[in-house]
Amino acid sequence: MSRHRVKALSYDDDFEDDYDSADPDEQERLEECTKEVLGQLQAGEPSVTASREEVQEALWHYYNDIQKSVDYLRGKKAKTVGKKQATSKTTTPKATAVPAHSVIPAFHPRSSDHFSAAEFFRDSPWLNVPLHRKTDILIEPLYPRCRLLGGAPPSDGKMSKLAALAAARKKKEGEKKELEKTKLLGAENNASQAATTERRNSTLTLLERLSVNGKEQRGSEKADTFLRKEALFTSRGNRGKIVIEKHNEVLGNCPKVEETCRPGQGEERTSKPVDLRALPSTFARTIVGSAMSHMHVELSHLSGRCFDVMEIYGQGLTEPFDFADSSPDDIVLKAQSSAKGLKSKQPTPKQAGNKGTQADLASGMKSLAVEEPVNIKRKNLDVLTEYRKSPWKNAANFVVIGHVDAGKSTLMGRLLADLNAVDNRTIEKYRREAEKIGKGSFALAWVLDQSSEERARGVTIDIATNKFETERTRFTILDAPGHRDFVPNMIAGTSQADFAVLVIDASTGNFESGLKGQTKEHALLCRSMGVQKVVVAVNKMDTVQWSKDRFNEIEQQTSSFLTAAGFLPKNISFVPCSGIQGDNVVRPSNDPNASWYPGRSLIEELETSEPFTHSLEKPLRLTIGDVFRGGAQNPLSISGRICAGNLQTGDQILIMPSGAKAIVKNLEVDGEPNDWAVAGQNVVLNLADIDPIHLHSGDVICIPTSPIQNTKAFTTKVLAFDHLMPMQVDIHHGRLHVPGRISRLVAVLDKGTGAVAKKRPKIISPGTVARIVVEMEKPVPLEAPARIVLRAAGGTIAAGLLE
């Protein structure tokens, strides 16, 4: 690789390679040329003699160009010896100019002459060198090495094919020139003149060709046909030639291309460089676009067959892509980042300047919202007319109250079991499970006490609701917990009740403790919550062998207490019964000891209750009892009892105290879907268009047109059960309970007339009625006729009515 010579380069003649052993035919040719040169030198006008070595040296440098060698040698011999020697490298400062890395003595030919500088300058005076002995000192320009980077060492081996070929070519050209000269001069007769064609004007070249590739003789004919074909090609491609040639003029240093790779193949080619510049294809022209307009647009060889799409559809319409604009990817990325909310971080000036697009964006974002539009049709019913037309039975809620372990849950379980509201298999299952944990007597209570904690502890903790129906009335049981720790739950239950069933344990000792305990508290709470009718079920009569005396004693004590609490005697009724055995609950007792009681059973007593009227026309008020997930279709449901007003599907409702609005998607009354509901009914509302964080049990639902107001302080008329003074209390209202403070004791009122008995009391003693002001820590929805209970330190201290 490193050994080939590059004739095309302008400075390539200055390079020298060492080739010691040439090919035999090379040697032969050299010999031939040497003879020729020597002959010419002697025959020339100033006859010159030169040594054989000198001649070969010169031939070597002129690539066997005889004429040049002759000229050179003649000039050399004519000159003085000193002149010739002055160019020698030992004396010129050229060596210093050669950079250190340039290890190849690139410029000067290999010289066999020895000379010494001292001898050379011996006869010349100091600082007065005769003119003829002066020389132009050529500082050799800094030529790059003609090698590979870190290429092969320069002094190895023989002349490469490439170099040999180049030499041969050079010689051939020289001979051609010489031939012409001789032709012009007519001085010499050369055998090669016989050749007529321009291409074969030299037998030497032909011979040479043959000698270079002996086997090519057959191939040369083929090469001729090749050439002819090429001529055809070029004449066909002549149209673009003008441009090409003009271009070549511009290209000053366009390198002369030499055919080197296959000897004998490119031989016939002229040394004119082949223009390799193609014209743009159709595709390229679409890319280059108008940039090519100044160029001579020439149809490429492809265009003849390919139609130009741009021409067909009009060039003006299609423009080359403007790469200066943002790319499609950038547009997408920008849109993505703006969708992620990064827009504020990277505000684009275009958007900031254009408010119209911003508005578009906002509306676009709105339309992107995931929420599906709530489209619930409101039927615009007249609920009251519907209610009157409807064949509803009387509905009654009753709360079951009493001291802990009075048997409230068991009694209600018995009631439900005997009325077949619960099937026998369930009862049997409960019985087996209860016996397994050694609490066989609790089996019936488990009908209502569903949670595991309630069953394990054997007490009711939260209000349990259940429904049953008689021929005339549908009842809702609110089974209140009897334990003193869960009085707030009992208050919540009582607030939904129309009347109460007070269960009293008839067994010895338990009745007495109950009367001091939650029997009394519950009764008082019931009364103060507005319950007017109470059915007293004297339970566990079987434990006292249905003793009539015991019953009478209980009846007497209880009725006196209840009357004192404010119940009218006609609203109090007593039923002896046994929940665990079922005597006198649904069926009359078959115990012979109970034959003294001819009266009604518990269920019959319940049915005597008159229908209760509710204020249907008033604005809607509903205290949320529970918030739950009603299923996949109803992701948010609330349950509760409507205190006042009416409601229908599609109504918009307002939840206080949060103030959020919702839409009633559909509703259920007593477990059955219905389009409307009125006060007094227990409903389940399936809501839409609201976040569940706005809903808590105890919140009040109202209609937006007449909302309930949130208050932080209120004046109330209370009945004190304990000493009242300015103190921290818990305010209970249904499910709602909030901490607060009695801020002011306004007055003590007369129990009968309600007139002010004493203003600004320091303390309010139990059993008196007083007007007080209560402040709460946070606003709660409360309005005037609400009944509230004040509790402190785990006990009820007062109950009252908002003023």
Binding site: M1, H4, V6, L9, P144, R145, C146, R147, L148, L149, K161, L162, N213, K215, E216, R218, G219, K222, F226, H247, V250, L251, N253, C254, P255, V257, E258, E259, T260, C261, R262, P263, G264, Q265, G266, P273, V274, D275, L276, R277, A278, L279, P280, S281, F283, A284, I287, V288, A291, M292, S300, H301, L302, G304, R305, C306, F323, A324, D329, V332
Partner: protein, 331 residues
């Protein structure tokens, strides 16, 4: 990492199927009609992409015009664009560099060859990038831009196939098409770098040569001994049934230096024709250098055109001098 921004096409080829004619005549594979030392013409143009500092478009059309059945015997072509961004300052996080840092990306368009490419660069594309970087690194005078970076991106729009699609894959198969692509990349990048007015020692030209073994060599190349491979310049892989070896070089003609040399295939044991005593490697490299030297004229012409464009822009006043104020043009 998958590309989620686009709907990717199928991974297989996209050209329509060509069914063999009913007459039973098999599809005719393309044959090299050029002589072994004849090069295909090249279209090279600079300054296509105004947002880039320098850019070039290179195109090699098949030497043969399309025949009557264009779908069947189509030689592959090469089309690629090259963009050069820079020299630009390095980001702050990068450690100090006294030289210009060069990064090269070579990416095939998914539709570039018969085998469909993904949008993410695969191993061969990264390989080409490394080769390209080596090729241009030797030419750029990198110490003139400390703390700067140069980004070279080559987009191959149409690549030469590794073989004619009608041939079944044989033992001689290698990714021969890559070699031609690399040569094109080198030439185009050199033009783009010159278009970006980045100081170079010389214009680097890519050249390819191959040793091919032709079955029908007696007919077309009368001189070649049957069985011994012949040297062809600028080979089109689809035109040769069996390629023994291919060589790509990046060559600086002005200095006679090679900055990148890539040989593929086994050329060591290969004996050329009787009169040619060179080893296979030598012949390949000589051929590639020769190719490169001839293509140099095309490259020079493109650079001259780039310079003329700059000059006209300067005279129009649309182009201002850069910060250093040197608008030296020496062609």
């Amino acid at each position: 990492m998958t590309d989620r921004r686009r709907i990717n096409g199928p991974p297989c080829g996209t050209r329509p199927p060509v069914f063999a004619p009913a007459t039973g005549k098999a599809a005719e594979s393309p044959k090299r009609t050029r002589r072994s030392n004849e090069l295909r013409k090249i279209f090279l143009k600079t300054g296509l992409i105004p947002s880039a500092a320098g850019s070039a478009y290179l195109e090699i059309e098949p030497a043969r015009p399309l025949l009557t059945k264009p779908l069947i015997a189509r030689s592959s072509a090469l089309k690629l664009t090259c963009t050069v961004h820079g020299p630009k300052p390095l980001p702050r996080s990068t450690p100090f560099s006294p030289n210009l840092l060069i990064t090269t990306h070579v990416k095939y368009a998914p539709f570039a060859a018969r085998r469909r490419r993904g949008y993410i660069r695969d191993a061969s594309e990264r390989d080409l990038g490394v080769h390209l970087e080596t090729a241009i690194r030797g030419a750029i005078i990198a110490e003139r831009w400390p703390k700067s970076a140069l980004e070279v991106t080559v987009n191959v729009l149409e690549a030469e196939d590794d073989r004619w699609w009608g041939n079944v894959s044989g033992s001689y198969d290698a990714s021969w098409g890559m070699m031609n692509v690399l040569a094109g990349c080198i030439t185009a990048t050199s033009a783009a770098i010159a278009d970006a007015r980045i100081d170079c020692l010389d214009l680097v030209v890519g050249g390819v040569a191959a040793l091919v073994r032709e079955e029908a060599s007696q007919k077309t190349e009368g001189h070649a001994v049957n069985g011994s491979p012949i040297l062809v310049l600028d080979p089109d892989p689809s035109e040769h049934r069996s390629i023994v070896s291919t060589c790509v070089i990046a060559y600086m003609p002005g200095r006679d230096e090679i900055t990148e040399l890539w040989l593929k295939g086994d050329a060591l044991e290969v004996a050329l024709s009787e009169d040619d005593k060179r080893s296979g490697h030598e012949a390949l490299i000589d051929g590639a250098v020769d190719t490169a030297r001839r293509l140099h004229s095309v490259l020079t012409a493109a650079v001259v055109e780039s310079g003329e464009r700059l000059f006209s822009a300067m005279t129009d006043g649309t182009w201002t001098k850069d910060d250093n104020g040197n608008v030296e043009m020496k062609i």
